[in-house]
Amino acid sequence: MFAEAIKEDLYSCLKCAMCQPVCPTYRVMRMERYAPRGRVQMVKKYLEGDLSITKSLQEALMSCILCEACAQACPSGVRLDRVFENMRMELHETLGPKFAKKALFAALQDPLLMRLGAGIARVGSRMIVAPLNIEWKLGNIPLNRLPVFNRSSFRSRVGEIVPAKGARVGRVLYFTGCATDLINEDVGRAVVKVLTSLGLEVLVPRDQVCCSVPIFLSGARREALPNVQKNLDILDRTDVDAIVVDCATCGGGLKKAVPHLMEDLGLDTEKAHRVASKIKDVSEVVVEYLEELPIERKTKESPLTVTYHDPCHMVRSMKVSTPPRQLLAAMDDVRFVEMAGADQCCGGAGSFQFEHVEISAGVTSRKTANIRATGAQTVATGCPGCRLTLTGNLLKTGDPTVVHTLQLLAERLRA
């Protein structure tokens, strides 16, 4: 099903190619098949009946990272992100997902299955990969660089209500996302520590489920609906000041893609918009308290050099780019260096890097080159996906480590 309102956008395409130079896949491949204009025109011709759905058409559309750089650059206001989201649904409903993706979706849709999978993976990575020190790769990432899963679910351990430290000044809901829940509990702990020390009570509803962005952005929009609706029910409450995310993908999804999804499927969008209006990246919440941050005020002889990578879904879907930089600037012992092309995609994009290895490698190598040129010791970012990709590709000696911005902040809080 292709939303009528979005079809109209196709007729606003001027074929001007202003979307072309910003497209990471085109920059690597230099073929129209991998350029936004080419892709948009394919969609148009498909809807007009001149092209039919084939594996090859699928490849052209699925090799797009959905980084939204094109939509931002388009002078004519073509909403390319929504064009592609709708087209992916068409592809998915005609061709179905690949087997590996089916398994992934099944896991993401079912918390129990996912925890089971995470457990197996944790054991597997400890017992098989680590001791052998093998140089096998998944996509472009060496297996021993893949993250180790949490011992158990972060959510199940942190508790559903974490009280504020000192006087309570507000209450936020923390949407942890799967990555923090199952892999990066270090980030989860940092987020909770910072928020509570600001005087915020943090609610962490245990029954929240996967944001399902990886499911519906691959075209399985209907399949994602149960999860999406369940989350909306949990998140739609009037007694919290904000819904905080630490993951750009969850954030961009809840803030933008979910309302779009509901609208395109002709469903009621009211609740989705209500929730969307409360979604904030954790850095946005923290900068509101910048003055009162209980942060160590000490300068160091040799400051830590840090650069920041803008996750696509944070800088474009959520339009958040200043707050994380403000946080870094507030740390006395951090020297912030801006990298060239900070808002350009890292090439990871979740499962994209495993399915389109060549393109992903090309996109990533630009990013890592820009990072290295800064000479930074640490890369801060706000997305577990980017963190995975960057960690897996910054492998040279002397390469920086990759962390979530909040981790750096948490380390610098006064006890």
């Binding site: 007729y11 074929k15 001007c16 072309q20 098949r33 084939t54 058409l57 002078p75």
Partner: protein, 456 residues
Amino acid sequence: MEDRVKKELIAVVGPDRATDKPEDLVAYSLDPHIEEHLPDLVLYPLSTEEVSAIMKIAYREGIPVTPRGSGTNLAGETVPVKGGIVLAMSKMDAILQIDSDNRVARVQPGVINFEFQQEVAKYGLMYPPDPSSWKMATMGGTVGTNSGGPKTLKYGVTRDYLLGLTVVLANGDVLRTGGLAIKNVTGYDLTRLICGSEGTLGIVTEIIVRLIPKPRASRTVRADFPRLEDSSNAVAAIIGAGILPAGLELMDRVVISAVEADAKLGLPTDVDAILLIEVDGDPEGLDAQVRKIEKILEDNKARTVMAAANAEEADKLWTARRSAVSAMARLRPNTALEDATVPVSNLTEMIRRTVDIAKKYNLQIGVLAHAGDGNLHPLVLFDQRDKNELQRVEAATEEIFRAALSLGGTLSGEHGIGMAKARFLPMELDEVAMSVTRRIKESLDPKKILNPGKFV
């Protein structure tokens, strides 16, 4: 195209750099022009040798070949109207050499103009041709269309910076013109013959250009004119005073309103024209120039004159001009960007006639102009699905061309002829010129396989 031939062609570059998949053919059937046509095959060569091998086969079999860079040209130059092969030069994108001592550079045709500019800037050098599409336009494409840009008035066009070319001819022969020497009068100027020929005489596979030292500073001034003719007079007076601005851009009333509605920059919507003037050179001399310009603008009844104090303010002033095309484009589904050009002294008259034509055909037309060279960019808005409107657009464009010619101007200042203006060519070129043009084409491309359906 016969299967046998297709196989032979694909074998030249290998299957990874050849495609006849339906969706790829769609993607290469178009450029910003309204008409589209599917090719039979798209090839991505990497070297002069590969292009030559492809041309030999195409020549033997009489297959049309349309070369293409990024496909941002505005007159349908890269639409493969007769099918055949699209030669996508985008993968030949190496900067081969930048010789900063001699100020020359050698590049492959797929290099992006903007990226080249960034590279040479590292050596304190500049390559002046900078079409508005510079972020996506390829060097090969700018040679094919002899691109200009906002800096044309002071610095000239692509042609003025070409020292030599490697060109694969229709029969696969490789022609090398010019060389690394800045001065060269040996033989016919074949380099300039190829420049602007829109791929109808050969396929450019290597380009040698000259570079100039990058000006050390620049300053920007904006002036608002309640009356159009005052703005033109001011332009004439500035140039008359011996000042050659690096940019002299005009936005008319329609464009100003569109930009203001879209971007809310605080532009006055009750004036006929806004002029943006940029001068560059040594910082020491610029202040005096700016003062002179300010005086001229005031003498010519500008209502407000603003000189940017620093780069940041200058950037703010230019935002209006940069957002102009988008602001207009967002108003309606389709936008045609024309480029009729007249002698500077007729600029006001040409803008007036354009406004009248818009009224006559009930169309929204805004005018941007590189005012210093009389180069107009009427932006014509429409919806291509509305057949009646489309007809009115065609009639209006034709009338704009006629107006430009009757004012001593030309069909195209910088976009080229392509398919959009091919039928109007005889309006500008007389019998003799047309015949010479045809004979040049016939001697270089007797089988008419190079970008057929365009130009000649």
